[in-house]
Amino acid sequence: MLIGKRDFFNFLTGSLPNFDNVIVAEKEISSSVLYLKKIGKDAGKKIELNSFRSTNPLKYFLYHVREKVYPAEEKFPLNIIVGVKACDLKAVQILDKALLNENFTDPAYYQWRKNTYLVSADCDEITESCHCNLVDGKPFADEGYDLNLSSLDGYYEITVGSGKGKNLVDRMTKEFSIKDSSDEERKIIKEKREQVLKKLIEQNKDSSRKENYGRFRNVEMKNWEDESSNCVGCGACTNICPTCYCIILNDESKLKSEEFIKVRSYDSCQWFGYARVAGGGTPRSKMHQRFRNRYLCKFDYMPSNFAETGCTGCGRCIDACPAGIDFRKVVHNTSINAEQLI
């Protein structure tokens, strides 16, 4: 079904759904990147939902950089995030498996997930670091959204993905005119999706060796020493990665207090102190060992734990790296070395 773009934003910022925060992918003025940002009532002009993925990953809004977990917060705002990309939705599936399973539920993540509507949008553009096609991803979402938007001139084609999404559309229909899309219009969307996928495949044609991911563990250390030679171990890659969820748990109680406060914040396996135990021992004292751990986590450990590759191909780690390390190239080179092991 189709809704006018202007109408859609009027609906979002209107009084009926009454969201506490409307968070939208927005292009920075005089910049080519997008950020997921909270918008006010007058927004709408700079919004480019169907461009490529935002610089900040979706996890920043569901699994905060720093968050009190004990005693747990009770009130959470009602949020809607619009312009989420397929790669980030895939990441949320991994976070769900890690943080909402039968053995463990992170209370804050649970609340943010419950109170946040996710509205995805097809990628009509790609950026240089995009490579979802290398990890079985696509530049549009098949699942994991409440609503999905495909851009069509002045309209959005809306696809409903959940009961939550359906309720939203029901409210929308009361206020705004919504019409059914024609076969012709759906065909245009399908073709656009295929074109973007083609562009992605062309962009990444030199780095496609996913059949070797499972063998990374056996690749010799020399490979990792070479690939990590420029790495400064800053941890920008893990901080911005949409599937990294390692944390430290700080005790922020007052000294000698009997009321305990626990706050979690992001940690990085790239940092020396990460796995160090009291007394100084650590299983990964060298940079190349920690560098390797990140790749094995994505391509070996996460697949064993969650039956999913831990990389969604968003390419943010490539953009964030101050040493200019291209994740794709590391994976590619490692794959070649892995192939020689057969």
């Binding site: 748990l249 009997e258 135990v277 009291a278």
Partner: protein, 273 residues
């Protein structure tokens, strides 16, 4: 919804100085903690931080528990400054436990060194409650020097049981210290005791290097990989597989362990580091 990060304030009612670096803290949690021997808890010092420790008391005692802590880093340094009357925090219990039901009727070997004796004392005391259920219990304990030996006051009590053997060794006896038991590496004690490897369990905990060579020796003596129980104490930070600090390949020491049989983890990397 139960908050997995819940902290139970616990009253510290007694401190036992076991050795120059090791203390046993006796705590009374605000509500009883139902742990199973081998599981661990996170012990917090308010405003400072927390660390993983395996209780060293029997799991049949619910309303208080002992935690044996070696002063070796930041948090343990603060734990050693705690005084009787202070309140510390406990989260947990977490992780896997020793499968006592599999040990029943068997000749159980326990091998430990240094502060690794803490979880083994818990196992040992739990087993002593129903010692007749086990064919025999042999406990080989090691320490660096006589003054590093812990649980000194309890040893004579432990040696009273008919089917229980407790022997210990120190690596060296410095001048001025007295010792009339064995002087050797704890793994050497294995050669002294009558081992019944066939199908019987062996439980190992201690410094990584001791666990590594202890496991090798046990295999040499004919213990099966699946009967060697190792307490893999890594940096267990959260306790439920969220923070990933204790990852050992596809396993988490906190969730899948800390008690592992050797056959499960032998192919994972850096397990002894």
């Amino acid at each position: 919804m139960q908050n997995p990060y819940e902290v139970i304030p616990s009253y510290l009612y007694e401190i036992i100085q076991e050795s120059p670096l090791i203390r046993t803290l006796r705590l009374k949690p605000e509500k009883p903690l139902q742990f199973k021997t081998g599981q661990f808890i996170e012990l917090s010092v308010p405003g400072i931080g927390e660390g993983p420790f395996t209780p060293s008391s029997s799991h049949y005692i619910n309303d208080n528990l002992d935690v044996t802590v070696m002063k070796t880093g930041f948090v343990t340094g603060y734990i050693h400054t705690a005084r009787a009357g202070d309140t510390l925090g406990i989260r947990g219990p977490f992780g896997s436990h020793y499968p006592l039901e599999k040990f029943k009727g068997k000749d159980v070997l326990i091998l430990g060194g240094g502060c690794g004796l803490a979880p083994l004392r818990s196992l040992f005391l739990t087993m002593l409650t129903e010692n007749k259920d086990y064919n025999s219990i042999t406990f080989c304990a090691g320490a660096k020097t006589p003054k590093d030996c812990i649980y000194k006051d309890e040893v004579s009590e432990w040696r009273k049981y008919e089917n229980v053997r407790f022997i210990r060794a120190v690596d060296a006896v410095p001048e001025g210290e007295e010792w009339d038991e064995d002087v050797c590496l704890v793994t050497k004690l294995l050669e002294k005791v009558q081992l019944h490897a066939d199908g019987n369990p062996a439980v190992v905990c201690g410094p990584p290097v001791m666990m590594k060579f202890g496991t090798k020796d046990l295999l040499k003596f004919g213990y099966k990989e699946e009967n060697i129980y190792l307490s893999m104490e890594k940096k267990m930070y959260c306790g439920f597989g969220q923070c990933r600090h204790c990852v050992m390949g596809k396993y988490y020491a906190c969730k899948d362990g800390p008690v592992f049989t050797y056959d499960r983890i032998k192919n994972e990397e850096a397990i002894w580091e």
